[in-house]
């Protein structure tokens, strides 16, 4: 499995994402001006502060030429994962439902949280089981996922709610404790927590994030 990790001006976690992908496959960096995804089996839109998070999180990066290629790639069923800022970019690009708002507590928060797998049907959670708990850190100031009530109902119905914060651990006030969602086809997932920072149990105490990076290979196998 060959991962392509996008790099925008202001990306921060792109090297971490490359390293995490490298534990389960191969990974290369894709410059934001590139439209060439040939040879890439899965795309990761990494965390960070693309364009400084200026104007509105993810708003500018979503117009990058690479995002046009990612949109086509996703439409063809290619696996796309958005982490934190990447999640924000994918929502802005319309590849995922909803939008990310400033945390209810208005502060940037960096802490380890427990996530509950709600639906394991997507390409990115195939290695997990519904109900499974994943210990993965969050670090963001704009992670309050929001969508109107009817939309959320429909998403729940369709199994597009992928991950929830464990009871009492919602760090940002997101609608119904939602931490991650997928598109209808299940090949695109976005989440606020950072699975690429939970891949080395000896160093950081949890390798639960690896489950996510392992999943696309299982889906294509």
């Amino acid at each position: 499995m060959r991962f392509g990790v996008l790099q925008f001006p202001g990306s921060c976690d792109e090297r971490d994402a490359i390293a995490a992908c490298g534990r389960v496959g191969e990974a290369e960096m894709i410059w934001h001006e590139s439209t060439d995804l040939s040879g890439v089996d899965a795309v990761v839109v990494p965390g960070g502060f693309s364009y400084g998070d200026y104007l509105r999180v993810g708003a500018i990066a979503r117009f990058a030429p690479a995002m046009e290629a990612v949109t086509r790639f996703a439409a063809d069923g290619g696996p796309v994962l958005g982490i934190c800022n990447g999640f924000q970019v994918l929502c802005e690009a319309g590849l995922l439902p909803g939008a990310l708002l400033p945390n209810e507590g208005r502060k940037f928060l960096c802490r380890q949280v427990d996530l509950e797998v709600v639906s394991a049907d997507s390409v990115w959670l195939g290695a997990t089981e519904p109900g499974q708990t994943l210990s993965i850190p969050v670090k963001h100031a704009n992670g309050r996922w929001f969508a109107p009530d009817q939309t959320v109902d429909a998403l729940e119905e369709a199994g597009q709610i992928a991950l929830r914060y464990a009871a009492g651990q919602n760090p940002n006030g997101s609608t119904r404790d939602i931490a991650g969602v997928t598109n209808e086809a299940g090949n695109v997932m976005g989440l606020m927590p950072h699975p690429e920072h939970a891949v080395d149990a000896a160093l950081t105490g949890s390798a639960d994030g690896l489950e996510i990076f392992r999943s696309p290979a299982l889906a294509t196998a």
Binding site: D13, D16, A19, G47, F49, D53, C110, P137, K139, H197
Partner: protein, 747 residues
């Protein structure tokens, strides 16, 4: 010489902060009166900040050499070597005064500045630490400054993708008006690819990269503008600078790419005094001259005067020396990173800094006069006869607050609870959760996990540990001993994670050195820094001095902040602070507690001059034993050094971290030390560790030649400590409530 200008209140030089003799010296040096541009440049390079007028002579004795030193003081940051041809660069710097005016932007731009010092060496920044001081937390202003500084540090560090892995915060009344915001940055580089700042190669181009130049930080120099600009234009000179971490993140990547492509001859950040100091210092270090054409500098505001361009302190800029035929390539790479770059001048063999506007010379100063001839003053130190800072009894108020938290404790237990809730000791989670401490995938032990932050360096097959420390209150009690303790505290923190210290950086935050008392504090403190670093064989590879930290209320506590970087074999084998159940607890090392200068004495309002003596060699030996024990397979499961709040607080912190109680009896220790129960519980001083582990681990530690006194065992949900006539008993839950009380105060 008769060219000297008039000396009165209206003289430009006085308004720019130069004394009459300094102005006369300038006239002598250049053989005439300086024009406006030249005077502006002199006023900055001859300022305390750039010229270290009051500290230069003192700093000369610091030990700066060592086997592992790759770069020492004099460069933008110091650096020590790691295995495999790698080096870690690091430096700490203050941004106190800007933070006192506008804490968010002041702290943010402080982080931006120290990052630039590190990547100016060609090192990729991999970690940040912060050292903060504010007035009493009950003061609204202090909370405002604390809140602003923390979010500013987070804003800049988080956005640029460098983890903030450690730091410290103290709240003491003398910092009320003059808070301290010191930031430390650590970077990683290949030793042989690091770059220096000395300009070289006549005919090479000076390329200015990054943000456009605006009227930032011109402040004082604006007296020079009165003739040239209309008065309303004062509004155009911002008093506060805005940090742009996005611009800097592009600049970091761009500079590192330029260095990797071998396109830069030298590189220097633009900090205080902007182009003037960067160009002047690059020329001075290289023994060359430079020409700068201000008309070629990309401006944020049209119509800036030459002096404004030369002294502007706009952030996020770097100056590079580039071979002429590589300028196009450099500009191309900058464009790819959406960062601007312009050739603004060249290296000459003239030995002068020449400022031109569209080719016409508007200022010309010999580099030597500008940089090397700056005055250096002797201090006039005098020891004060008594404690010069205030004393306020706040213990009852703090104990009252414990009750407010729903903690029901009496007597000694209430003291422990109040100490745990004291903002100097309480968990700083409220602050560090606002920092991304994990980006970069190196953080093994982040904030609160262990006494020092631990970063994995797989490139070199090792890990590094780092801590930053400086208890200004204890330095105020005794500048010499307090400073020694500060360094020992830092190396103790490293010992707790099994790291061997490699190098030290420091930031000397003091009041007005022209006052004898402050001069004495500074002199004693630097003497101590020199002595302790020599005794520990710990080279000082860099630092920063921040003076005049005082207001009408008096000086701040003398606050030498030290940051140490050390090496350990494996980031994954650090025991951390947390107790596990059913382990034996022991006190390790020549800890001789005393209430002098302690948090308890402070709460009681009984601070006074003097601290007990320190045996550096004994303490160093104990630290070595602990370090070796932690880094080998002795089997210690927890390790923590004793500092603020004494032994009782150390034990409580370990119990809270591990959610495991402890039952201790200090009688053995009290016999051995001949101290009172209260002193055993709450007394402070260097040289002590609390460790926990199976008996075999403690025996292994003892066999390393250090005193190990068993004091109890872990388990249960209570923290109980018997100490002769005194005893404390606090439930884990209550202890945690107190220790976690900072969040509530900041709501």
């Amino acid at each position: 010489m008769s060219t000297k200008g008039k000396h009165d209140e209206q003289s430009a030089h006085r308004q720019l902060g130069l004394t009459d003799p300094e102005f006369d010296a300038i006239c002598d040096l250049i053989g005439r009166e300086p024009n406006g541009v030249e005077l502006a440049m002199f006023s900055l390079l001859w300022s305390e900040h750039c010229a270290y007028k009051h500290s230069r002579k003192l700093l000369g004795n610091l030990p700066v050499e060592g086997e592992r030193v790759v770069m020492g003081p004099g460069e933008n940051a110091g650096a020590v070597s790691l295995p495999g041809g790698w080096a870690v660069a690091f430096k700490v710097e203050s941004h106190n005064h800007p933070s006192a005016v506008e804490p968010f932007q002041g702290a943010a731009t402080g982080v931006g500045g120290i990052l630039r010092d590190v990547f100016a060496l060609g090192a990729r920044p991999i970690a940040l630490l912060d050292s903060l001081r504010f007035g009493d937390i009950d003061s609204e202003r202090s909370r405002f400054l604390f809140e602003g500084a923390v979010s500013g540090i987070g804003h800049y560090g988080n956005s640029i993708g460098v983890p903030t892995v450690g730091g410290e915060v103290y709240f003491e009344a003398p910092y009320e008006q003059n808070c301290l915001v010191n930031a430390m940055c650590i970077g990683l580089a290949r030793s042989d690819e690091m770059i220096r700042s000395a300009a070289a190669g006549t005919g090479n181009a000076l390329v200015l990269m990054g943000a456009a130049t605006g009227r930032d930080g011109i402040g004082g120099a604006s007296v020079l503008a009165s003739a040239e600009l209309e008065s309303g234009d004062d509004a155009k000179r911002p008093t506060v600078q805005i940090g742009d971490p996005f611009e800097e993140s592009k600049l970091v990547e761009c500079c590192l790419e330029l260095l990797a492509a071998d396109l830069l001859v030298s590189l220097q950040d633009l900090g205080a005094a902007g182009l003037t100091s960067s160009a002047g210092e690059m020329a001075s270090k290289g023994g060359v001259g430079v020409d700068i054409d201000v008309a070629k500098v990309p401006l944020r505001e049209a119509d800036m005067e030459p002096f404004e361009v030369m002294v502007s302190e706009s952030q996020e800029r770097m100056l590079a020396v580039v071979e002429p035929d590589q300028v196009d390539q450099v500009i191309e790479i900058c464009q790819r990173w959406q960062t601007s770059a312009a050739a603004i001048g060249e290296v000459t063999d003239s030995g002068t800094v020449r400022i031109l506007r569209d080719g016409e010379v508007v200022g010309e100063i010999a580099v030597e006069a500008l940089v090397d001839e700056a005055p250096a003053y002797d201090l006039d130190p005098a020891e004060p006869g008594e404690w010069i800072y205030g004393n306020e009894n706040s213990l009852d108020r703090r104990i009252g607050e414990i009750a407010g938290l729903g903690v029901d404790a009496a007597e000694d237990s209430a003291i422990l609870a109040a100490l745990l809730a004291s903002p100097n000791i309480a968990s700083k989670r409220w602050a560090f959760e606002q920092y991304d401490s994990i980006v970069g995938s190196r953080t093994g032990s982040g904030p609160e996990a262990a006494d020092a932050a631990v970063l994995d360096i797989p490139e070199a097959g090792v890990a590094i540990a780092t801590a930053i420390d400086g208890n200004g209150r204890r330095v105020a009690c005794d500048p010499y001993r307090g400073t020694i303790e500060g360094v020992l505290e830092c190396t103790a923190n490293l010992a707790c994670v099994g790291a061997n210290p490699l190098g030290l950086t420091n930031c000397l935050n003091f009041g007005n050195p022209e006052k004898p008392t402050v001069a004495w504090q500074l002199t004693k403190s630097v003497e101590a820094l020199t002595d302790v670093c020599k005794a520990l064989d710990l080279p000082v590879v860099g630092g920063n001095v921040s003076l005049y930290n005082e207001t009408a209320d008096g000086p701040i506590y003398p606050t030498p902040v030290v940051g140490v970087v050390g090496e350990l074999a494996d980031a994954t084998r650090v025991p951390g602070q947390a107790f596990e159940p059913a382990q034996t607890i022991a006190l390790v090392g020549p800890f001789a507690p005393s209430l002098a200068g302690s948090e308890l004495v402070k709460l009681r309002g009984e601070l006074d001059q003097g601290l007990p003596g320190v045996e550096i060699s004994e303490i160093a030996a104990a630290q070595g034993a602990v370090r070796d024990s932690v880094s080998s397979a002795d089997g210690l499961t927890a390790c923590h050094d004793i500092s603020d709040g004494g032994l009782a607080c150390a034990i409580a912190e370990m119990a809270i971290a591990g959610e495991t109680g402890a039952e201790c009896d200090l009688d053995g220790m009290i016999d051995a030390r001949g101290c009172s129960g209260e002193t055993a519980l709450f007394g402070e001083g260097p040289g002590g560790f609390i460790v926990a582990g199976p008996d075999a681990a403690l025996e292994a530690l003892a066999s390393r030649g250090v005193e190990v006194i068993r004091i109890g065992s872990t388990g249960g949900t209570l923290i109980t400590i018997a100490a002769a006539e005194r005893s404390v008993a606090l439930s884990l839950a209550d202890a945690a409530t107190c220790w976690r009380s900072l969040e509530g105060r900041m709501e």
